[in-house]
């Protein structure tokens, strides 16, 4: 780099010029750094500012929600708007349904998908690429096209408008991700350790439980949280597949255009809040989860 030019013997004038050029470059780099930090802050504000706005509005008293013009520095803090939302008819039930659906989805997709992920990671077998391709290609299919025929089937099977129908649908959506994510997690567990366990007399099953699983656990937990968020947020299938047993997004969407502003506000904040925490918890895994899967 620049050091090569510095070490070369050169005429004094050329030397001075080189120093000047280097200083100019250093100045430019400093300026570039400054601009980068400015950009970083601006982009962060773009993400955070709307969250700030809905938070201070959602935690103001109910009549202050209609105040105009609004003040950027919040006046009184109040949980009144939130309580109004939680007490509204159907909200607690929908909240419970959302949690149930997300948990069932998480369990289903891990139980069904993780073995396939393990197989992709550890075995070379005929049909491996074909399977990967099938799993990858499922992403091209919109939720819309699955929900409508599944609604018809679920009515026939008698599980329409239940937590189960939504969870099954969400599992179908999450499964491809689970397979790909778990496969990349298992790939990152050194195979040598597993083989050492096998030579030391473990059966493949105990080697998996005692050696692979503990090492894969943090990644698997991150993947499950991601599945939970996917299900927690999904609204199209949920609103198509339910009538009374709504999940929270489905309930809010179905009632949205008839509901008062405080209700919408609190609902928006309520759906937003968990994701702040979840993304924080899995922040170290985001690049691994998404980056690798997208390839």
């Amino acid at each position: 780099m620049t050091s090569i030019a510095r070490d070369l013997p050169a005429a004094p004038r050329a030397d001075r010029e080189a120093v000047a050029a280097r200083q100019a470059r250093a100045r430019r780099r400093l300026l570039g750094r400054g601009l980068l930090y400015a950009a970083a802050v601006l982009l962060a504000l773009w993400v955070l500012f709307p969250i700030y706005l809905i938070t201070i509005t959602a935690f103001s008293p109910r009549d202050a929600v209609y105040d105009y013009p609004k003040q950027l520095i919040p006046g009184t803090f109040s949980a009144e708007t939130m309580r109004f939302f939680v007490d509204a008819e159907g909200v607690l039930g929908a909240l419970w349904n959302s949690v149930l659906v997300a948990v069932v989805t998480l369990i289903f997709s891990t139980l069904i998908g993780a073995p396939a992920g393990y197989a992709l990671a550890r075995f070379a077998f005929r049909g491996r690429d074909a399977f990967r391709l099938i799993v990858l290609s499922t992403r091209a299919f919109p939720i819309v096209i699955l929900s409508i025929p599944l609604a018809v089937s679920f009515i026939e099977w008698g599980i329409y408008d239940t937590v189960w129908s939504v969870a099954l649908m969400h599992t179908a959506l999450a499964l491809p991700f689970t397979v790909l994510i778990t496969s990349s997690i298992f790939i990152s567990v050194p195979r040598d350790l597993e083989e050492a366990a096998l030579t030391l007399g473990c059966t493949p099953a105990t080697a998996f439980v005692k050696v692979v699983l503990p090492l894969a656990l943090p990644g698997l937990a991150a993947a499950s949280i991601f599945t939970f968020v996917l299900s927690w947020n999904e609204v199209f299938a949920a609103v198509i597949l339910t009538l009374r047993e709504r999940t929270l997004p489905a309930l809010v969407l179905a009632a949205l255009n008839q509901s008062p502003v405080p209700f919408r506000l609190a609902a928006g904040w309520f759906m937003l809040a968990p994701s702040l925490i979840f993304i924080f918890v899995i922040r170290r895994y985001l690049l691994g989860l998404w980056g690798r899967v997208s390839r």
Partner: protein, 285 residues
Amino acid sequence: MKGQRLGWAPYALLLPSLAFLAVFFAAPMVQAFGLAFQNDAGNWSLESWRTMFADAQFREALVTTLVLIVILIPVQFVLAMAMALVINARLKWSGFWLYIYAIPLGISELAAGIIWFVIFTQQGWLNSILQGLGILDRPYIFLNYQNPAWLIFAVVLAEAWRATSIIMIILVAGLQGIPRDFFEAADVFGATSWQKVRRVILPMLRPSVQVALILRTILAFQAFAVVIALAGGGLTVLSSEAYRWYSDYRNSHVAAAYAGFILMLSVVSTVLFLWLLPVREEQQG
């Protein structure tokens, strides 16, 4: 592990996934085509497609969906690229910046729609701020049925705000795959930052860009809750028409035709991106 005694093991491990996908993915897909190409009596017909194409809302939904995508995708790419470059520049607290930019990844379309509704509504933040700055002297009704341009603008902002992080993550992962030597080589030759982006980063990122474009476009064709939250009935997109035909008119045939149409557009856009941005063999991850 080839030729091991457990030759059947991988297949046994795949079986649950395959079975589940067959029942809850492949079968509904076939059924969807059945629904779309059959009438109520169960005979093959193009009736639902004719109904869909003749529907007054169809054209509007299609145009809105396409306009949204055409505006959104470039905006999101520029934003996501800016975020990715900031992350890749290894500033201090780079984990912090990444977390902030990734937050919207966990936010649903519906929540994002509501957040921007609070900003754009008549007694909302945008009016408060603009009036505070003296730009407006009384609140302007942005979200007005007679004003589709503002409705589209609001939806674009909300979607750009929410769904840029997924592109950003894919681009950052791609950037990290570029060997540092390339940047150092560019430095040696005195490349400016812009030249580095143009000549090193963009060509090397092509596989990531392709994946992100395909994924984002497919998701954008399904935009739904954000439109309802911001525009109510003032704007319609293809997915909300599918929802309306299923829920309000109880006609799963026309709803399936809409879904099939969305699928068709998704496939066409995927092929288009694969064709426009060919990725060389050796670049595939």
